[in-house]
């Protein structure tokens, strides 16, 4: 796939994701907070159905040996649980509860005109920077390892 096509798909899927989050007011502190207070089922239903539908679809893809648009085999990543998943998850969870948002909704929050997102987004960047310690490799299951080799200096 050509570079501009990748960029275009990145933009379109990003817009779809951001739009869905905005449609569900997932960018509002109150939505996340009322989920974590267990006052409301909404976000559980949203995330639960998203997981079920994507899991089932990926399972069907895998069974049928579905190829991607450019004819690649679909690669699913399954890492072994390690300490960092639990430790990082716990730190992330505390931040999630305190700030009432996470990385993607923070961007939607800014787009919705909520100026306090201008406090949150730099904070997330700072946290990533502090945790990176000069190691600029990509993410684990949020980003495939295969990108690491193919994407250097792209």
């Amino acid at each position: 796939m050509k570079l501009w096509q990748k960029n275009l798909f990145g933009l379109l899927f990003g817009a779809g994701f951001g739009g869905i989050l905005a449609a569900g007011t997932l960018h509002e502190y109150d939505t996340i907070h009322s989920m974590l207070r267990m006052d409301e089922f909404y976000v559980y239903g949203f995330m639960g159905t998203a997981i079920m539908v994507s899991m089932a679809t990926l399972w069907v893809f895998e069974r049928n040996n579905t190829r991607t648009l450019v004819g690649e085999e679909i690669k699913l990543e399954r890492s072994t649980p390690q300490k960092n998943h639990l430790k990082g998850g716990a730190i992330f969870g505390v931040g999630w509860a305190v700030a009432g948002t996470c990385p993607a909704p923070a961007l939607v929050m800014l787009a919705s005109g909520a100026f306090l997102a201008a406090v949150v987004i730099p904070g997330i960047f700072l946290g990533i920077h502090l945790a990176s310690k000069g190691d600029n490799l990509g993410f684990g299951d949020g980003e495939h390892h295969s990108t690491r080799e193919s994407s250097v200096a792209v």
Partner: protein
Amino acid sequence: MDIQIIFASILPDRSPWFIIGPLLGILTAGFFLVMNQPLGASGAYTQTLNFVQKNGYRTIWRIWYFVGMAAGGLIVTQFLQDNPGFRTGFDSFRSASPLWIVIPIIFIGAVLIGYGARIAGGCTSGHGICGIAQRSKASMFATFSFMTAALVTTAAIRLISGGKL
């Protein structure tokens, strides 16, 4: 303004979860068909940071993905819903505490979000949705960990704030 009047309130203030949840599931799976990659948001932050810091490893399309998330949010909140304009966000937090308390606390929370997501290798979207959808055990562990931590922290906040938050 005219555009806003024509398209405003196409979408309700909040769309039902049983419509947008499955839609996000299709989007996530569809991304594998097109890009063969999981749809994680914290990876987009890392790549954008790498780009700004001019680090060697970067995938440009993840930066477009980063921009896209904000663009999609902009279109929906400003044009397709009936409540455009500026707002502060954090409504219930702000009604419980003054701004000089809210700002440092959400900043600290945001640093923890970035730090934790970087160490865990993903956030709510990367581990919580894409990771579990790929049946990755590591993602299930990470999701269990952040859900537990968030629920406990929220209960603690509720106690500290005297039930206001």
